[in-house]
């Protein structure tokens, strides 16, 4: 470990102080209008324990699959400086009556390869890893994430991939780099995860948070939103 890493060690092992502003020590859990948490109760407990937070629950009105519900979730989440856990829409009864409780064992963490996003999610991922949670990081390439001066395949791409992993990989997490539509890529990988962890800017304008909105609409596991620091 070099000097930088060690100097940040204490910071890495605790949640950011800003989380405790406004809603001290609380993980806000947003659900469907019924407030039903279904099979996610144990996962919520796991997550709150890892983060060292209590949990508050709020139902958000809206119908399953509707953009209106996603917009409402985004607006409410943007008001909260701390982490927000958005449960998949459960305004309808679960299809399987006695579906097993989901525990927090595997987390999918998309990242956009910016320093800010990685710095924001790193402490949370480290806390999760310390409790034995497997972390899979996913980067979906885009013109914004690939340098404009892109020499192409071969040595350049290899050097870029190597450095991308070295900069953004958290502990023993796996790191996958892929192309395509970000929300679709996240939805595909989310089938093998219990939780999606995403960083966002808490900006609610329609043209912003596009990936967060799309992911909220398509994945059927909880999404933890972390504000970019």
């Amino acid at each position: 470990m070099n000097g930088h890493g060690t100097s940040n060690e204490s910071e890495r092992r605790s949640v950011p102080a800003t989380w405790k502003l406004g809603t001290p020590g609380v993980l806000l859990v947003l659900t469907g209008p019924s407030g039903e948490v279904g099979r996610w109760r144990e996962l919520i407990g796991n997550l709150a324990a890892v983060l060292g937070l209590g949990s508050d629950f709020e139902g958000v009105p809206g119908d399953r699959g509707e953009q209106r519900w996603v917009d409402a979730v985004v607006r409410r989440a943007a008001e909260v400086p701390g982490p927000v856990l958005v449960l998949p829409h459960l305004n309808e009864p679960p299809e399987v009556e006695n579906e097993l409780e989901r525990r927090l064992e595997r987390v999918l963490a998309p990242f956009d390869a910016s320093d800010e996003v990685s710095a924001s999610i790193m402490p949370v991922l480290q806390l999760l890893q310390e409790t034995g949670v497997d972390v899979a990081q996913l980067h979906v390439t885009s013109p914004e994430s690939v340098p404009g001066m892109w020499e192409g395949i071969g040595h350049h791409a290899r050097a870029w991939h190597t450095e991308l992993r070295r900069r953004h990989q958290v502990g023993p997490a796996t790191v996958e780099v892929t192309g395509g539509y970000p929300a679709a890529a996240v939805a595909t990988r989310a089938r093998d995860a219990d939780l999606v962890l995403m960083c966002w800017t808490r900006t609610t304008r329609a043209e912003r948070a596009q990936v967060v909105r799309a992911v909220l609409q398509v994945v059927d596991i909880p999404v933890l939103l972390i504000a970019r620091s």
């Binding site: 000097g3 001066m149 020499e151 791409a157 050097a159």
Partner: protein
Amino acid sequence: MRALPADPAWQFVVEGGSDMRLRVEESWLTTADGSVGTRGSVEEDGVESDPLTLAAGVYNEGQSLLEVPSWATLSDAPILPVGRRVLDLRDGVLWREAIGEDSAARIDSARFACLARPGVGVLVAEVTGRRVAASMVPPTIDAAKPAPAEASTEVTEVSPRRGGNVLRAMRTTKRPAPDASVNIVVRVAVHDAASRRRPARAEIDARLEEAWHTGPAGLLVEQRRAWGQRWERADVEVVGDPELTRVIRFGLFHLMASVPGRGAAAVGARGLTGRAYSGHVFWDADVFVLPFLAATDPPAARAMLEYRIRRLAAARRAAAAEGHTGARFPWESATDGSDVTPRAGLDEHGNEVPILTGRLEEHISADVAWAAWRFAAWGGRWAFLDGAGGDLVVDPARYWSSRVRLDEKGAAHIDGVIGPDEYHEDVDDNAFTNVMASWNLYRAAELCRRQRGPDAAGEADRLEQVADHLVTGYDPTTGLYEQFAGYKHLEPLLVAPLGTVPFAADVLLGRGRVARSQLIKQADALMLHHMVPDITAAASLAPNLDFYLPRTCHGSSLSPSIHAGLLARVGRVEEARSLLELAAHIDVDDLTGTTAGGLHVANFGGIWQALIHGFAGVVVSRPDDEVLRVEPRLPGEWKELRIRLSWHGRNLELRCQPSALHVSTDRPLVVEVAGTRVQVDPPGRWVS
């Protein structure tokens, strides 16, 4: 000892340090002596950094540059924030001041790679648990000459089963200062690296004894003298833009530090600053790096050509294997001169895709010939071309003469190649490849006639005949070179509606779409105007710039500098300056996302060429040039462009001003400015 230079134009300062940029900073702060380079990792660095030492031209069994653990690591040093680091470009010394967060611990260090003694590294560090100071205080190198009895010596050998060998002997002392508050660490490391032989222990022990006896202070004196002499012949200053001057010097420093002045110099794409590109040698070395050295450090340029001369046999075998005569140089080269280009690689998404450059990017053979000629042209050295260097020109020409296809009308074509613009693969009659081949054939014919007497006249005639019949893609009605056969029929996309440069068109649009469009990655047809303007069509630079520049994405680090030089030549100096700035910031701003793997040393050579041939308007074409042509064109904010270089055995300083030129020289020469020839005698004069 002297304090740090007061002039910020000679300092590259890195404050603080960033987790995300850690390895980028290490590349920036590499110290090297041409033979051995050590990344600028802090003394206590570990797993998140790349504290590497690399030896020029020494590869492992997989033909990647052999990696040696850094000699500058202090395993028992306290872990501190990175602190403030200053690379003194004038002396080649890296300074560091690091203070613990509680101010209880501190490291002040200085290290350098001895330019006067390649392979020798020196580190002096003061490590303290109590000392607190507000300003940067250089370690007391003068007082740090320990008695041999205190020293411990460690020998390291990195010697893979096949491949090169590096042997290092390193002596370290640690002793407390008189008040016991500070530990003074002195280390001298001596490296012997060889690609084929096993370094001799006795020899390296003797070198270590000698360096240790000289001591850090004595070695520092040598260091300052050696770097002073280098800068005396190579400095560039843009008066009126100190920041640009600083970044230019940063690049020149790393260029000079990347090439040994003797033997055979394998100059990899990232020099000695990192492991990216595996240390392989591309056209970057011949076309971008070598001209700077030909004009400022001829022995180093000669060593680069020696690398090619020693691999001529392999290039001849490669040509013969394809049924051709002459020599075909490999696109990527390492130890033995065989082609080491990977056959497949990753795209941006991590998918494996085939790499065709090793098979198809053939212009490298003409580039090697051009480098040999360029070396001779800068120095007025017919003797080089009459001797060993001549084969570097003639053998590739023979390859081209057997490589071409003659059509039914007698026209010669080169099918199935990749030009510098790698967006378009497997194309026919790439203008750059064909015109460079043509230039190569003409120069080889000239050498045949010159060196080899009447018997070679027949070969000279044959080579010229092929050159005469090679299609160039030039259309006199438009003044354009068509980049390759059929290019003009591709989708006429321009960059501006899509984004701003640099622009990863292949990522945004997909490789297939880009291949079907006129978007190009870097200078291709325009590269001719940079390299062989004497055989491009008269007045064709401006129309080709007008056409190709809006289609150029600058996806390659080799692109902006070349365009900057060409734009300056046609008087578009503000656009030229803008692209020069872009080139100058490629590594400083990590524009490729790969500076962590090393610096783009060829870009530094491109920047130098843009300044010399573009802004200063220096024209160098033949060994028997009788005059030095100079025609400065400066942006408005530049008060003066000062350049030191050598030409035909004369050490010169050019002071280019917006409407005046002063030439200083140590021997008489004739300078031509705007068509007027002026005799210049030492020490020099204003010539316009």
